[in-house]
Amino acid sequence: MFFSAKQRRVIPGFGLTMGFSLLYLGFIFLIPVGGLLLYTSLMSWDEFWSAVSHPQVVASYKLSFGASLIGATINLVFGALVAWVLVRYRFPGKKIVDALVDLPFALPTAVAGIALVTLYASTGWVGQYLNVFGIRVAYSQLGVVIALTYIGLPFVVRTVQPVLEDLEAEREEASASLGASRFTTIRRVILPSLLPALLTGYALAFARAVGEYGSVVFISGNMPYRTEITPLLIVAKAEQYDYNGAAAIGTVMLVAAFLLLLLINGLQWWTQRRGL
């Protein structure tokens, strides 16, 4: 049986919490997503395939998924570092920095796009200096990566931070008193505890980046085959009243994102069980 506890536990509330969660998920999520899948399934296979396998669409998949992977990886490394620094060290202005991390969520994506292009266009605050070295950020694939890194930045920090705060110092002390070096303690004690949160943050940053639209269109240049992301193509299809084409590409993105999330969540579940 799916979604039912294996045996009776001491802890109560499984029925209540699970029931409410599923009800809400069903109402707010499964009905619309099911609607999309049903809508797509009413199309003929040929129509579906020709919509999703057009070279222009395939080029956009490569960009959307590739740039998202790069962005999420940057966020994994720097997000973990930022979380570590914020939880473990003291430095002036720490609270302000802590609060700023949420900015990419608070700022509407369109504003973020405008701000980023203001910075990185060849006339921009940063772009003019990069231009000297021949680096073009705005209106290139690099611009897409920058935008996707920006919008996904809070995910890793905010998933790792509470876990790190909750990590009991005793375990590190125990490790140290057993003679382990700091490096070994980090590798063998801290990192494994953080792994689920790291993976979660990575998955979320990646997933969010794949679907991002508002900020990217300002900085990417939107040239078909080169800097055009998949969500923009969906908009273009809908603009031509081609709801079928839009829904078909939307479904591909949906399924791909779900499979990737499933992979990462499955991995995390597995590492956790192995650890227990």
Binding site: G13, T17, F20, F29, F105, L107, T109, W125, G211
Partner: protein, 296 residues
């Protein structure tokens, strides 16, 4: 345990070794802080400066005029209304889902977690499209809604639903890793000692997950205010009526009123300040209560 630690620290040589093993040398510490801050400066502070510079470039009066103009006020009101509906619902959902997932073993758990993650992964553009396909007057439920004189899209309900959809995972996703990491021993102990389920949740679980909960609410709140792509599709963009703050910003930008656009954006960045205030307040409460608990 505590006394043992103290004796260690009392010995200067041992204390030094102890520090080496539990914390990093100063140069490592400051390098890490430096790298982290440089990264944040490039990605967070500079864009923020662009917004603030744009907002206040022409002085406080122009800024104030931009945010006190009727259409801007209408947009702020609408955005706040949406937040007041969406955040509490997602809060209850987040706690319930995290409880079920973290405290129990059941089959299909990765699938359930992945489902909760999905709104992050679905492009806002696709979300908008889905709701138009379902509720639009050419859509499946459109004719029925029209017959009963009900409006979902191009009205407030549609905006609320798409934002609830987009922000659904935030609180749940914040709590799940935290509660998983904490395990269930404390709750089990409390229950074995005879406390009721609610009491256990209230006095044992809630204090433990407090930080995650606050983070989650802050994120959910921020995202609900900033959501753009999906709302743009279902709002109809009627000035002063169905424009949320992000849409109003877009309208201003497209009218070449850059200062006004950045002024309204600066309000949303002001949320970061609220975050600091809330966090500091909770920390203060926490510190004030701690001695009281210890004296029990």
């Amino acid at each position: 345990m505590t006394t043992q630690t103290l004796t260690h620290v009392a010995n200067p040589e041992l204390a030094a070794r102890w520090r080496r093993a539990t914390e990093e040398p100063a140069w490592v510490r400051w390098t890490l802080i430096g790298v982290a801050l440089t990264f944040l400066a490039l990605f967070l502070v500079l864009p923020l400066l662009v917004v603030l510079y744009g907002a206040f470039e022409q002085g406080l009066q122009v800024w104030w005029a931009a945010i006190s103009e009727p259409d801007a006020l209408a947009a702020i009101r609408l955005s706040l209304l949406v937040v007041l509906i969406v955040v509490p619902i997602n809060l209850v959902f987040g706690v319930a889902a995290a409880w079920a997932i973290a405290k129990f073993e059941f089959r299909g758990k990765p699938i359930l977690i992945s489902l909760i993650d999905m709104p992050f992964a679905i492009s806002p553009v696709v979300v908008g499209l889905i709701f138009v396909i379902l509720f639009g007057s050419q859509g499946w439920l459109g004719p029925w809604l029209a017959a009963h004189d009900m409006r979902i899209i191009f009205a407030v309900p549609g905006i609320v639903i798409v934002i609830a959809f987009g922000t659904m995972p935030f609180i749940a996703r914040e709590l799940i890793p935290l509660m998983q990491q904490q395990g269930k021993e404390e709750e089990e102990a409390s229950l074995t000692l005879g406390a009721s389920g609610w009491k256990t949740f209230w006095y044992v679980t809630l204090p433990n997950i407090k930080w995650g909960l606050i983070y989650g609410v802050i994120l959910c709140n921020a995202r609900a205010l900033g959501e753009f792509g999906a709302v743009a599709v279902v709002s109809g963009r009627i000035r002063g009526e169905t424009n949320t703050m992000p849409l109003h910003i877009e309208v201003l930008y497209n009218e070449y009123m850059f200062t006004a656009a950045f002024a309204v954006s600066s309000l949303l960045t002001g949320l970061a300040l609220v975050t600091i205030a809330v966090k500091s307040f909770v920390e203060w409460l926490d510190e004030r209560n701690r001695p009281a608990i210890a004296s029990h």
